[in-house]
């Protein structure tokens, strides 16, 4: 591994990103612009998350990378091997062992602890973009807490469908102040954001924004008093480990439409079954 700095980015860039992260931590939920760099993976594949991880990772870190809850899917595998090649840092599939976790679209089922950092990959950071295409305008809306329109959207859902239609990337209010998109995690995971002891960081590479939820910060999913926020439920437990109260993936098993439900979080599932899944770095 010659010619590259530790974790690919040069130290100046890391410093710049860390400054943005500090600002983000100081203002929970607020989107901080940063000088997003060209990374050796395409936009839409986690460049923001990778830059956040790269600016934080040190030789003593233990890195876990997941995609949709699994350690062994394409995106997770390629990002993990990128970091192994550029840092030589130890990697793990076990949530409990990791100090730094980069995730696409899920929060691990195993509760996080103080000292851990969870980095989310974010496609669109702006929760009001559906309403207002102008960046200058959405910034003003955040500045004056002009969030009525977001509730209008929920109102419309309830009017048309009897309930809120959004099931992932469900908007939240951070620290009672900023409206935030938690990235396309299922709404099932939203409650895990609230007062989490770990540091939660969000990186959007294409949109060049970083935001953060510091440990033990209140994160409330938007709802109405008479239509409170609800998470998904399944009628059956995981077919492999029997876990209930976790997020399950639906898997089609035959051509007749037979289906089974298994844990989305592969590490959690394996742990329950008492086995270790092998990861090839």
């Amino acid at each position: 591994m010659s010619g590259y700095n530790f974790a690919f980015l040069d130290e100046q860039t890391k410093r710049m990103i860390r400054r943005s992260i500090l600002k983000a931590v100081a203002i929970p939920g607020y989107q901080v612009p940063f000088g997003s760099r060209e990374m050796p993976l395409s936009y839409g594949w986690g460049t923001g998350g990778v830059q956040v991880t790269a600016s934080l990772i040190g030789p003593d870190d233990v890195l876990k990378v997941i995609d949709q809850g699994a350690d062994d899917t394409t995106n997770a595998v390629s990002i993990r091997s990128f970091f192994v090649r550029t840092t030589g840092v130890r990697t793990t599939a076990r949530t409990r062992e990791a100090t730094l976790i980069q995730s696409r679209h899920r929060i691990p089922e195993t509760p996080l602890r103080a000292g851990q950092v969870l980095v989310f990959q974010v496609p669109i950071p702006e929760p009001l973009r559906w309403l207002e295409p102008r960046e200058a305008e959405t910034r003003k809306m955040h500045a004056v807490e002009d969030y009525g329109a977001m509730h209008v959207r929920l109102y419309e859902d309830i009017t048309r469908h009897g309930k809120v239609a959004q099931t992932y990337d469900y908007p939240v209010r951070v620290n009672g102040r900023y409206l935030m998109r938690p990235s396309p995690i299922p709404k099932f995971d939203n409650p895990k954001l609230d007062r989490n002891p770990a540091l939660l960081l969000f990186g959007a590479g294409r949109e060049k924004r970083i935001y953060a939820v510091p440990p033990h910060t209140s994160v409330q999913s938007l709802d109405f008093e008479d239509h409170p926020f609800e998470v998904e439920t399944w009628r059956e437990p995981c077919a492999l480990c029997g876990a209930a109260g976790v997020f399950l993936d639906e898997i089609v098993v035959d051509d007749k439409g037979g289906r089974t439900f298994v844990c989305s979080d592969t590490d959690h599932c394996a742990e329950r079954r008492g086995r270790r899944s092998g990861i090839r770095p």
Binding site: D146, G148, V152, T159, R160
Partner: protein, 259 residues
């Protein structure tokens, strides 16, 4: 007669567009429960005055002291943008000439009326919807249209919806720009009736900018006549229209075609 201080005091309001004068040295007071009409032809500066107050145009000079609910007076022309937007949301309403400028065309009528309540922090779907239904009734929109999109409404109905959206949060001051412009005569009449009774029932203060003397005759207690950016005459509406003193006012009044 109790003499409370005015809700809004404007002094020296001036707007220059380079060499062209938008408005010059405009001043007036507005009390609660009063409707002030501002009339003039195109280019008179009446819309400029409204835009300066609404914040869509930056004035070249002048003050506009507004008495907030807590009694403190603030110059709205010098407010920080964030504070001004908050005040506009909570205290003022703006009824645009084209209702599409004042509505969200892509969400239902009920959502349009409910939004100001949601923006002020109300979080009970049932109560918000109830308030929206009551307001639709007040502005004479059939309540079974609560879930319809405004794009399916006639122009007059869209305008009534815009009025409901502006009044639901009980503003203290409403700015109106040609509220009946572009509507059929019979539709205009109906809308004016509605505005008249709402203003009286709610004790609103309003500034109505229009070129239509019939509108101010019906709606406004007092009148400002503007020409080329300046106020040329002011007074009680019926006095200015029935006994015009200024040459231009006389011309304006004489030009109205009586049915």
């Amino acid at each position: 007669m109790t003499d409370e201080s005015p809700l809004l005091s404007v002094r020296g309001l001036t707007k220059r567009y380079g060499a062209h004068l938008g408005c010059l040295d405009v001043g007036f007071d507005l009390w609660s429960g009063e409707v002030l009409g501002v009339v003039g032809e195109s280019g008179s500066g009446k819309t400029t005055v409204l835009n300066c107050l609404a914040g869509s145009v930056e004035p070249s000079g002048g003050t506009a002291l507004y008495q907030q609910r807590d009694g403190r007076r603030v110059d709205v022309l010098r407010m920080a943008e964030a504070a001004r937007r908050r005040m506009l949301r909570a205290d003022w309403g703006i009824v645009h000439q084209n209702p599409r400028d004042g509505l969200r065309m892509s969400v239902s009528a009920g959502a349009n009326v409910g939004e100001p309540l949601m923006a002020l922090g109300q979080r009970h779907y049932g109560r918000i919807r109830g308030a929206a239904l009551r307001w639709l009734e007040t502005v004479e929109i059939p309540v079974d249209r609560v879930d319809d999109l405004p794009s399916t409404f006639s122009g007059g109905m869209q305008q009534r919806l815009q009025i409901a959206r502006n009044l639901v949060a009980q503003p203290r001051l409403v700015l109106m720009d040609e509220p009946t412009g572009g509507l059929d005569v019979s539709v205009q009449a109906r809308l004016l009736d509605l505005l008249r009774s709402l203003v009286a029932d709610l004790g609103l203060a309003a500034i109505v900018v229009t070129h239509d003397l019939g509108v101010v005759r019906l709606l406004a207690h007092r009148l400002l006549v503007m020409r080329r950016g300046e106020i040329v005459e002011a007074g009680l509406t019926d006095q200015v229209l029935d006994d015009p003193h200024h040459e231009y006012t006389q011309l304006l009044v004489a030009s109205v075609i009586h049915p």
